[in-house]
Amino acid sequence: MDEFRAYVPTHLEKVLVNETAQIKCDVSSNLTNDRILLVVWYKDNVPIYSFDTRGPHVNSPSHWKDVAILEDRANFKTTREQSRAMLVISPVQKKDAGIFRCRVDFLLSPTKNSNVNLEVVVPPDVPKIHNEAGVVLPSHAGPYEEGGDLVLICVVTGGMYPVDFFTIFQPNLPDAG
């Protein structure tokens, strides 16, 4: 399967977790009077969605989805002229990441295969600020002695990418006295 995959063009798609993923599929045909017979979506080589417009389903296409993988979050949509199509997954989850192959069987044209590499971006959690003792500080720290040390620890969990830390210091001195 991997050798064949090398021939199929792959497109990278990034989406933020819990948002809506629109995974495109090339369903266009160069031949007039052509039409789509069948579209099958494979994720990591396993079928997860099929759109069947053959024979009896010509006017009411039959959708099948693997609910174990997609639950009820996915729907395949085409434009009226069947020139564009996409698999819509909403809300997208981290486990949806992977390689999606869209296979389109036409009446007159040769089969079209296209790949989308779906990357689901998971942002990190909200940062938490601790003091030296490990106590989480909800809104303020201290009090601290003047001339003493102030140590704050910023902890970020979750996410997929290395995190950059920024410190914004806004002095807000109390009124004298």
Binding site: S62, W64, P110
Partner: protein, 345 residues
């Protein structure tokens, strides 16, 4: 004062195909998921002949939706079990399908061309609604044999006792380039010759681009001791290897004479004259089409010591690459006591 070399000789340069000499099918099984797919694609097919590609699995017919064959990423054959007609062909350059002989499991290609070479993938798809699918891929190579026999050129009539014999064997054009081997007295030259006879080198151009091929030959000959004879890149490497004979730019070099320097530089003199003997197989001929027809040239330089070569012979022959047994056709280069003859059989 030179004494004449006294030996009787025939020259052999035997050529074999770069593809391992047989047309048997390549069989393999791959297990994907619950079913196993059996794909069988011939590794090498003779140009102009037919090839049968097999792709089957243990799926009952009612559970089968389609079998598709792709070349690269282009579908050219589709069997759909519940349609009439069940076979659909999409035109693809270099591919001619015999629809009558083809079915769900067997694909028959006829009149294969060099352009038919490539990676073939078979995709078997189960029926609705899930359309589980398996894909297997294999490579098929179209090969073509040389029309003529290999030829030895640059052989002199007389060799002195301390004089190197330096000859060249040419074979082809064929697809892929022929392999060349040298034999002396029916023994492969790679076996060490009995001293003081000595093999200086037996070379074969290995580079792919024209300008550098003579450069690489120079590198080869920089090694002074016994060379690995011939060995074209093995089966796996069927990439194009251009040969500087192909474009004819190197034609018209000086013909070899006795004045050839004995320094071990193999490729610096590139004699491109047609072989002196009338033979089939014009050097430099290249057939039309997308195939990479190539010639092979091997230079042999060795020192023949009179005393050890009672019937020293250098044979020239060629073998038909893709037939099961190797046929050797001999050209005789005879040398013996008082004279040396060059003869073709």
């Amino acid at each position: 004062m030179n004494t004449l070399l006294q030996s009787l000789g025939r020259g052999l340069c035997s050529s074999v195909s770069g593809v391992m000499g047989n047309l048997s099918s390549h069989v393999s099984h791959s297990v994907l998921g619950l079913e196993s797919v059996h794909i069988q694609v011939p590794v090498a097919v003779l140009v102009g002949t037919s090839a049968t590609l097999v792709c089957e699995c243990d799926l009952p017919d009612e559970d089968l939706y389609s079998v598709k064959w792709y070349k690269g990423k282009h579908e050219f054959f589709r069997y759909t079990s519940k349609e009439i007609p069940s076979i659909k062909i999409f035109p693809k350059a270099g591919i001619s399908v015999n629809v009558n002989l083809s079915n769900a499991s067997h694909l028959v290609l006829v009149n294969v061309e060099p352009q038919s070479s490539g990676k073939y993938s078979c995709e078997i798809t189960e029926a609705a609604p899930s359309f589980h699918t398996k894909i297997a891929t294999r490579t098929m190579n179209v090969v073509d044999l040389p029309t003529g026999e290999p030829q030895i050129v640059d052989m002199k009539s007389y060799y002195g006792a301390e004089e190197f014999l330096e000859v060249e064997c040419r074979a082809g054009p064929s697809l892929p380039a022929p392999k060349l081997e040298w034999f002396v007295n029916d023994l492969p030259v790679r076996q060490p010759l009995q001293a003081p006879s000595r093999l200086e080198y037996a070379t074969q151009p290995t580079s792919s681009s024209k300008p550098s091929s003579s450069g690489s030959r120079k590198k080869q000959s920089a090694k002074s001791s016994l060379h690995q004879p011939s060995t074209v890149p093995s089966t796996g490497e069927l990439e194009s290897r251009e040969n500087d004979l192909e474009d004819g730019t190197a034609r018209g070099g000086p013909s070899s004479t006795t004045g050839r320097p004995l320094a071990g530089v193999a490729g610096s003199t590139t004699t491109q004259d047609p072989p002196p003997t009338t033979g089939n197989g014009t050097s430099g001929e290249q057939r039309k089409g997308a195939g990479r027809y190539e010639l092979s040239v091997s230079r042999l330089k060795l020192l023949l010591e009179h005393g050890h070569f009672h019937n020293g012979k250098l044979k020239v022959g060629g073998s038909v690459p893709a037939r099961p047994e190797v046929e050797t056709i001999f050209f005789l280069c005879l040398f013996f006591s008082s004279f040396v003859r060059l003869r073709q059989s």
